[in-house]
């Protein structure tokens, strides 16, 4: 048999992986380990970090700002995960029934937000939402709905949903594309068979489409949940967590703690809790949203 260089012992082949491994260690693994270490210390960014054990984590439990941030994040998940999931699925089934160029055009339009940096979109929407001269309120006023032309991002009750709607708008095109590929994966004659057997649209969706799209639903949930817990740039550019912490999420809180209050140890603890949350929620999704078809019984 022909010997390839890759047939050499593993430790010799490590040399090929080394450059990547070095970069990874320097920029990913290192910071993660450093953050874990920092979360057990008190550090103002200048002096030596003081090791204080689990104190940061214990304080977090009773930190009302952190609890608010978690609650806000939970609510944001509706806008980041659930709404895009449903809207994306609806879009996918509509777009699928279109033909050729129209389909292409609409698919592209709906996917467009996703290819833009979300920080840019945050700035754009900040302007769109502007209470005085923003187009949204201008339009509302011009059609005689001035009464509901609220200061969207400045209103304690509406700031979070307003930010959330932008996230929904951002992610539903993405979800649609994933579901479109999912629908393409399915054998079209399955749907014809169902039709020939007399199954209506709702019945077909519930008994066939939905269960067969579970793999895509799972991917969409995993990705949007990660995005929601990591959410920072949209919120930072639109509200910075305000007004009165009504859009505060863990990552914004972490930013404030670290870069405004110089409490790096405490901020690191917030980051670690966020990471643990991501792992936990994803594990749950992984465990309970299971593809129903094929393979093992």
């Amino acid at each position: 048999m022909k010997q390839s260089v890759l047939d050499a012992p593993v430790r010799k082949n490590l040399i090929f992986v080394l450059p990547g491994l070095l970069l990874y260690s320097a920029f990913v693994l290192g910071p993660i380990l450093a953050a874990i270490y920092l979360s057990f210390t008190e550090w103002n960014g200048i002096a030596r970090p003081d090791f204080i054990g689990f104190s940061n984590y214990l304080s977090l439990l009773t930190d009302s700002n952190f609890v608010t941030a978690l609650k806000n994040n939970a609510l944001l998940m509706v806008f980041y995960c659930l709404l895009p999931l449903f809207i994306g699925m609806a879009f996918a089934s509509i777009v699928r029934s279109l033909k050729g160029r129209e389909q292409m055009a609409i698919r592209t339009l709906l996917f467009m937000p996703y290819i833009m940096p979300s920080a840019v979109l945050g700035i754009v929407w900040h302007w769109l939402y502007n209470p005085a001269f923003g187009p949204i309120n201008q339009i509302l006023k011009s059609v005689g709905l001035g009464a509901i032309a609220l200061p969207w991002l400045g209103d304690f009750n509406f700031a979070l949903p307003s930010v959330g709607m932008v996230a929904t708008w951002y992610y539903c095109g993405f979800c649609m594309v994933i579901f479109l590929t999912g629908l393409q994966r399915l054998d079209p004659s399955i749907f014809e068979a169902a039709r020939a057997d007399g199954a209506g649209a709702a019945y077909t969706f519930r008994r066939i489409t939905l269960p067969l799209l579970l793999p895509e639903i799972r991917i969409v949930l995993l990705l949007t949940i990660i995005a929601s817990i990591k959410s920072f740039d949209l919120i930072f550019t639109m509200t910075r967590g305000g007004p009165a912490n009504s859009t505060l999420v863990p990552n914004i809180y972490m930013y404030q703690l670290g870069f405004q209050l110089n409490r790096y140890g405490y901020a690191a603890a917030v980051a670690i809790v966020g990471a643990i949350l991501i792992f936990t929620v994803n594990y749950i999704v992984h465990r309970f949203v299971r593809p129903a078809d094929g393979g093992s019984r």
Partner: protein, 369 residues
């Protein structure tokens, strides 16, 4: 139940006429096979009968009722798809039960019907499996089971065997014929494989480019093809066609001269003109080694030895390609010129436009014992 009548049915996609005006009557209990090359409109025809595709004009009647605007489920048909179209996330039981669940049948009834179908199709011990765990043949049987439980008056099959390997295919052919015999329903079966058509059909409909070329029993199509296309499509290996020139016609038949120079008198009906361009057709199986009424010299190029017979591909002196099927024990080898002969009564004659001059064959005597 299961009588079908198509009247002037057409189908156009955009401005392409995929099915030309078609009239067809299918009697109750027949096993009708639509056969034709890929893209000729077989599936489209079947899907129009099923109601999955709207017809552009004409009428389709099932059991005397016009079904043009009636949903598939109310037409009394059941369809088996080429890709099986099984629901991958459901067990075999649920797959077969699906149409009954849609129809909201009582649980006991569903159970009973599914088990009866499973027994008929030898699937009883696979009911709790998912389609992904079954072999191709078993999946096909599940698809058939799903059609059976609906107790339709007409079964529609769209190339159901084309995803199976050769051995399984011939096994399933026999099973389908057996199923037809035991159920007695009308079956309409689409295939591009003329062997499936010949072996299973009671009636074959040959389609080409959206047009019905001929309708008839398998033997009728084989022995009395209406035109050159049908003659070439039915039968394997394909019929040999040799250019010929008309000389005269009389009560005994037509006299022609082959491009090889040979002059023959063929027992066919219809008159030909002197000098008319014609084509003689002779099936490879009807060519024999050595002498007969008519003789052609051929130089074999390729000899495919199948054991019981040998398929010989060769060329005549006038560069006319020729194929012959001879006994497997007869001596023949590539490169050595060989004399072939055939019985003029076995030959077919086609006009320039492809239509056949009718052969004098008594079909009754072919099937009687």
């Amino acid at each position: 139940m299961g009588h079908l009548k198509l009247q002037a049915v057409t189908k156009t996609f955009g401005n392409v006429e995929v099915i030309r005006a078609t009239d067809l009557t299918i009697e109750e209990g027949e096993f009708v096979v639509f056969v034709g090359p890929s893209g000729c409109g077989k599936s489209t025809m079947l899907r129009m009968i099923a109601g999955l595709e709207e017809i552009s004009s004409g009428t389709i009647a099932i059991d005397g009722r016009v079904v043009n605007d009636i949903a598939p489920v109310e037409r009394g048909i059941a369809m088996v798809f080429q890709s099986y179209a099984l629901y991958p996330h459901m067990t075999v039981f649920e797959n077969i039960a699906f149409p009954l669940r849609v129809a909201k049948l009582a649980k006991g009834e569903v159970d009973q019907r599914v088990r009866r179908a499973a027994e008929l199709l030898k699937l009883s011990d696979r009911l709790e499996y998912k389609p992904g765990e079954l072999s191709g043949g078993q999946r096909q049987r599940v698809a058939i089971g799903r059609a059976i439980v609906r107790e339709p008056s007409v079964f529609l099959f769209d190339e159901p065997l084309s995803n199976l390997d050769a051995a399984l295919r011939s096994e399933m052919r026999v099973e389908l014929s057996r199923l037809h015999a035991s159920l007695g329903n009308t079956m309409i079966y689409v295939t591009h494989d003329q062997i499936e058509a010949m072996t299973m059909a009671t009636k074959i409909v040959v389609l080409r480019a959206g047009r019905v070329e001929q309708v008839g029993s398998p033997l009728e199509l084989f022995h009395k093809p209406a035109n050159r296309f049908v003659a070439g499509f039915i039968g394997n290996p394909t019929m040999n066609f040799i250019a010929a020139e008309g000389i005269s016609s009389s009560a005994e038949g037509a006299t022609v001269r082959l491009s090889t120079g040979l002059e023959l008198k063929l027992p066919v009906n219809g008159s030909i003109e002197s000098g008319e361009a014609l084509e003689l057709g002779i099936r490879p199986d009807d060519l024999v080694l050595g002498g007969a009424d008519a003789q052609i010299e051929m130089t074999p190029e390729v000899v495919e030895r199948l054991g019981n017979q040998s398929v010989v591909h060769g060329i005549t002196k006038t560069d006319q390609p020729l194929c012959a099927v001879i006994g497997g024990d007869r001596p023949i080898s590539p490169g050595r010129p060989t004399r072939l002969g055939f019985d003029v009564a076995k030959a077919h004659l086609f006009r320039n436009d492809g239509t056949a001059l009718e052969r004098r064959v008594d079909l009754q005597s072919l099937v009687a014992d």
